[in-house]
């Protein structure tokens, strides 16, 4: 008799659903400062351990410890805190604006502010990000005007994208922010191409690709990894693991073994796994990977371990698929609170200054919002001309589009 048995089908499950008590005891969190810092030219094969750990700098008491500490001075840290606070307040205002019907849609960064804000500080002018829809911190931290972001969100007459694009899918060549697409993962491989172009041209600029945990299952994640590996492209391949892809827990995309960072090793790409809610750690690993790329040593994969504290978008209600208090139970805490605690710990910040800064930032965001709304929102004020609908399909408008534009009356 052959040794057979009935097969059973495995579908990963987060285990905990609405009504359950949140539990992250399965997430192994190494102590801050305990993970080593390799030289930037270390061979990928020698640093496999880093794909299975979590690089952390800030300890429970807000002290910066270990070999990854010290990549930023105090002034820059305060600047970083302000960036994160700005992004959070910006998000809150825009969430409300969406509820008020001033725009159709919004996606917030709640809990993930450190990732994009700290990464941006590791780049030089001229470097190019290929972001997803959840890296607006790259714009905030690069000084992109908030009013412009809001003009885009409101699709008003001053919208730099002429009302053609869904809210938050920004684009800015000058600020190193590639045009965001609604199609997931496409930009991950484009980032590699941009980096290849820089290398082909003998340039010194580098690219950064961005992707979420869920989207790593897309073909272009793998295409990006293959091309980055083959051509040793000067690119940093960022994977933001916020545990959730809309309602789908990361185990569906990743499986229940290994880590996302570990996928880098299959391609011979060095991989770092980092505490995504630790501003100092994010900056330190970003700086390491950027230096590696700029030294022509090739790509690096970084997995940011974080948690999507808010809903997926304004069209989503997480209470339908995960425990209500799960975000509060997330063991890596809140990135703003952790950096704030650190700055207070080193005597560079205080509760008073924090409250003051919060008020000041809120005023700045409100002022930007007023300026944008004085132009228009989605349904009121000055809106882009229907004529704009036909521009930029091609460099030059072909005959059939001119004809269609005339039909609309423009």
């Amino acid at each position: 008799m052959p040794d057979t048995q009935k097969l059973s089908f495995h579908v990963p499950d987060p285990g905990l659903r609405p009504g359950d008590t949140p539990d992250f005891s399965h997430v192994k969190i190494p102590q801050a400062g305990s993970v080593r810092r390799p030289e930037i030219d270390e061979s990928p094969a020698e640093m496999r351990d880093l794909a299975f750990s979590i690089i952390r700098v800030l300890n429970r008491n807000g002290q910066a410890v270990g070999p990854w500490a010290g990549s930023l001075d105090t002034e820059r840290l305060i600047e970083g805190l302000r960036h994160m606070m700005t992004l959070r307040i910006f998000d809150a205002r825009m969430m409300t604006a969406q509820r008020q019907g001033k725009t159709s849609f919004y996606m917030q960064h709640l809990g993930e502010e450190a990732v994009s804000c700290a990464f941006r500080l590791a780049l030089e002018p001229g470097d190019m990000n290929f972001p997803t829809y959840r890296q607006a911190g790259l714009l905030i931290a690069s000084g992109y005007p908030m009013t412009q972001m809001m003009n885009q969100i409101y699709s008003n007459e001053a919208d730099p994208l002429r009302g053609r694009q869904l809210p938050i899918l920004y684009a800015s060549q000058e600020h190193g922010f590639f045009t965001v697409s609604g199609n997931l993962a496409t930009q991950f491989v484009q980032a590699v191409g941009w980096a290849m172009a820089s290398a082909i041209s003998g340039d010194s600029r580098i690219a950064a690709g961005w992707i979420g945990d869920g989207s790593t299952a897309e073909n272009d994640f793998h295409a990006g990894m293959v091309f980055a590996s083959t051509y040793r492209a000067p690119v940093v391949l960022n994977i933001v693991n916020n545990q959730w892809a809309i309602s789908t827990f990361q185990g569906i995309a990743v499986g229940e073994a290994g880590t996302l960072a570990a996928r880098g090793h299959g391609f011979g790409i060095p991989a770092l796994r980092v505490d995504g809610n630790d501003y100092l750690a994010v900056h330190a690993v970003a700086k390491w990977a950027v230096a590696r790329a700029r030294r022509n040593l090739g790509p690096t994969v970084i997995e940011y371990v974080t948690y999507r504290a808010g809903g997926h978008s304004t069209s989503d209600d997480p209470a339908a698929y995960r425990p209500k208090e799960e975000s509060a139970a997330w063991p890596l805490g809140d990135p703003i609170l952790r950096l704030k605690t650190h700055l207070i710990e080193i005597g560079a910040w205080s509760e008073e200054r924090h409250v003051q800064a919060e008020a000041q930032i809120r005023d700045e965001v409100i002022a930007a919002q007023k300026a944008a709304e004085s132009i228009g929102t989605m349904h009121s004020g000055r809106q882009p001309s229907p004529r704009e609908m036909f521009e930029d399909v091609y460099a030059e408008m072909p005959a059939h589009l001119i004809r269609q534009r005339h039909e609309v009356g423009y």
Partner: protein, 337 residues
Amino acid sequence: MARMTMVEAIRDAHDVAMARDDRVIVFGEDVGYFGGVFRCTAGLQKKYGKSRCFDTPISESGIVGTAIGMAAYGLRPCVEMQFADYMYPAYDQIVSEAARLRYRSAGEFTCPIVVRMPTGGGIFGGQTHSQSPEALFTHVAGLKTVVPSNPRDAKGLLLAAIDDPDPVIFLEPKRLYNGQFDGHYDKPIVSWKKSELSEVDEGYAPIPLGRAKLRREGRDVTILAYGTMVHVALAAVADSGIDGEVIDLRTLMPLDIDMITASVRKTGRCVVVHEATLTSGFGAELVALVQQECFWHLEAPVARVAGWDTPYPHAQEWHYFPGPPRIAKALQAVMEA
């Protein structure tokens, strides 16, 4: 002037483009050291170096995706899909990204890439070496779609495509790569070197996109064709004795509407010919255009001769391929209607 095959003309276009513009980068599967499975890039890597012409992993979305990133950087990538039949993994990058980069970013980022792909049947290529997917590109706003039918056009149009500020899908009928084919599969192939169409201008001589070419003047009926079917249509006209006017569209998007409508208004009759499957093929767009623009001049319903609505078969190649007899029959029917 030099006489070239279509393969030689395409290779020459690459050579000229790469020599005059350092930003032109050529890559794809087997295009580097080996020079391409059809030899269209032979010698380029040796002449321009591995950073200008190189082999890639077998990943169509990787090839087009990286090309888009390079274009956003400021290069002019001209990439190859080994067969049009294998472009589907790149379709997301072509449709969602390349075609829309300029529009969605309001010109912040642009995508001057060329995606070359051998297309068409008549070579016993079976299901995955014979397809004609042009309608999947002409339907996409933001793309330009080009199909040359001879060496002269192939070179000139490819040079224009590489220069073009927008993404261009460049479909090369592989049945025409090494010789002229008019659908009479039982007769020996006609060498390009015997055709005037193989007289290729030397150096940089682009042929503007968006302009059709009159291949045969006639009074009775307008025949709209492109690629291999231009030659097949000419053969059908000769076989049928009908005085057909044959227009080689050359560029499907943007389309030379003026030449088409002027011709049909003159002849009052129209037959559209393509290898691709009939239903929702590019022919449907041509028929709609002719009907709309030339309705009062039409003396017969506009006819279509196309591939059947089946996958491209192997053994039944010549029952599938719309050869001269089927076109001649359609011409006859349109004349008698």
